[in-house]
């Protein structure tokens, strides 16, 4: 899932300063599951903002809503009419949702209420970890299902650097050394020879480094559809 974290209230308040009628719009998918931008968080944010405005003596109205997926036009379209009355929409979706909303509703001001963090999953209740950078050329088959591009702080492809100690990354004791994890799995599976060959330089052109990516599937493409 895409994991996000709500921006601090002060930053949100500063962003919304010029507007009086605001809709805090939750998103019903990833950010609902990671407890940062769903219906509940939209209500909490609206309540906190209203209170702040009241304290500051600012006139205004804060309402809430939720779109099941702000990243898909058809869900936005269903909701569009309800957003017309607002000066601004504070989207609690990820950056994808904010931009899909902006593209679909160009007359509206859509602002980001979250900092989009990463693609990952909860490793336990309340802890989410980054797992995938979306590099466009998956190597998980070579690395025992543990991504060194994402989970090694230096995105190394040929084993652990000299900063790996006690299974932890030099960057932080909170970060596991991805290559130590890979090594342990290889030992366990008796497949250590997989680390022998020098993996050649990665072709980053399949990632964001190759410029903005578009994927086209001719088999399902419908011209003019939205």
């Amino acid at each position: 899932m895409i994991v996000g974290e709500r921006k601090p209230l002060a930053e949100i308040a500063a962003m919304l300063k010029p507007y009086e009628k605001v809709c805090i719009l939750g998103c019903g998918t990833c950010v609902t599951v990671c407890l940062s931008g769903g219906e509940k968080e939209a209500a909490e944010t609206a309540a906190a903002l209203s209170l702040l405005w009241q304290k500051e003596g600012k006139k205004g109205e804060v309402k809430t809503g939720t779109v099941l997926r702000q990243c898909e036009y058809e869900y936005i379209a269903d909701y569009a009419a309800r957003l017309e009355e607002f000066d601004a929409v504070l989207s609690l979706a990820c950056g994808v949702g904010v931009q899909a909303m902006t593209a679909r509703l160009p007359e509206n001001i859509v602002l980001p209420g979250l900092n989009t963090q990463f693609m990952g999953y909860p490793v336990m209740q309340g802890v989410w970890k980054e797992n995938c950078l979306g590099c466009g050329d998956c190597v998980l088959d070579l690395t025992m299902g543990i991504c060194p591009i994402t989970r090694c702080s230096k995105s190394m492809l040929n084993g652990p650097c000299g900063g790996s100690q006690d299974g932890k990354c030099e960057v932080s004791k909170e970060v596991d050394c991805a290559w130590h994890l890979i090594y342990d799995r290889l030992v366990k599976m008796d497949m250590l020879e997989r680390m022998e060959a020098v993996q050649p330089p990665k072709d980053w052109s399949t990632s964001h480094h190759g410029s903005v990516r578009t994927m086209v599937r001719e088999d399902v493409r419908v011209e003019g559809s939205q």
Binding site: K154, P160, C161, E170, V198, Q199, P200, P201, K202
Partner: protein, 307 residues
């Protein structure tokens, strides 16, 4: 094969090599560095010049190398993959070769988080292994990473890498060295050795794999200047082990600095006894003036002169 440099000549001919280390300053005034270089010129075979060590912005390694060349001294240019993509790395290598640099030490580099620009992008386009192989391919095959040919062949280069016996997984470390050799490494410098027992255990496996016959292993030695410096390395420098008994020993000494020097000398003497150790790399960071004394007391002076 003809040696690419004095350092290679020294190692290839079986002499116990000694290299020094120069850390460029956080300014463009390298006069102090030049003094240090000058003062140890008769005691070291080559000088490593660090590449923005611990991710702190400093005068570039290649810039300093140009000055050393003018002084008639031999640099080993450190190149990390942290700050440059493959375009810049290959270009900078060509630039350094163009004015005579022949020794290159290819390494990953500490994460930028540790330095004075923690908000910077960590490049890591290549990893250290790929960079070693790229330098070898440029030299031996005359090709860039992308496959295009160099317009003219490179002169012979001496390719170095680093090894850290104090990092984990410990059992994997000799195999990592083997991989670096396969990638093209000719000499390897180790992380500072304070835990000699662990280093020896690493060397046992290295010899078992026959790696000491395929690569020149140069042991890293750092004299401990103070308890504070030891504690700093123990707690803040990644991939280092500073045993507590070493700190206790210095604490108990009357002249703590002398004790630090004595430990460094003893370390070198013990390293010389270990089969497969081909030299020492003395990293006296912020204490460069003691290098001649350490080299002399370790019995490595005068340096052999190889014409």
């Amino acid at each position: 094969m003809k040696a690419a440099s004095n350092l290679q000549k020294m190692l290839d001919s079986g002499h116990f090599a000694v290299s020094g280390e120069l850390g460029p300053p956080k300014s463009a005034d390298i006069s102090t560095l030049k003094h240090h270089a000058h003062d140890m010129r008769n005691h070291v075979d080559a000088y490593n010049i660090t590449d923005n060590q611990t991710a702190i912005v400093r005068t570039s390694s290649i810039g300093v190398a140009a000055t050393l060349m003018q002084m008639g001294l031999e640099p080993t240019v450190q190149m990390t993959v942290r700050d440059r993509n493959r375009i810049a790395l290959q270009s900078d290598l060509l630039g350094a070769v163009s004015f005579g640099v022949r020794n290159f030490l290819c390494l990953q580099g500490d994460h930028a988080k540790f330095g004075n620009e923690p908000g910077s992008k960590n490049v890591n386009d290549l990893d250290s292994m790929q960079w070693i192989q790229a330098v070898k391919n440029m030299r031996d095959e005359g090709v860039f990473i992308g496959g295009e040919k160099l317009e003219h062949p490179l002169p012979d280069l001496f390719i170095g890498a680093v090894a850290n016996p104090f990092a984990d997984p410990f059992e994997y470390r000799p195999y990592r060295l083997a991989k670096k050799i396969a990638a093209g490494t000719q000499f390897v410098q180790t992380q500072c050795i304070f835990d000699l027992d662990r280093f020896e255990r690493w060397m046992v496996k290295v010899r078992e794999l026959g790696l000491h016959k395929k690569v020149h292993i140069v042991g890293g030695v750092t004299p401990i200047k103070s308890i504070g410096a030891a504690r700093y390395m123990q707690n803040n420098v990644s991939g280092m082990i500073v045993p507590e008994e070493l700190i206790t020993r210095i604490k108990g000494a009357q002249d703590k600095k002398q004790e630090g020097i004595r430990i460094a000398v003893e370390t070198i003497q013990r390293l010389r006894e270990i089969e497969g150790v081909a030299g020492v790399h003395v990293m006296a960071i912020a204490w460069e003036e003691v290098v001649p004394e350490i080299v002399e007391r370790a019995g490595l002076y005068p340096r052999p002169s190889l014409a």
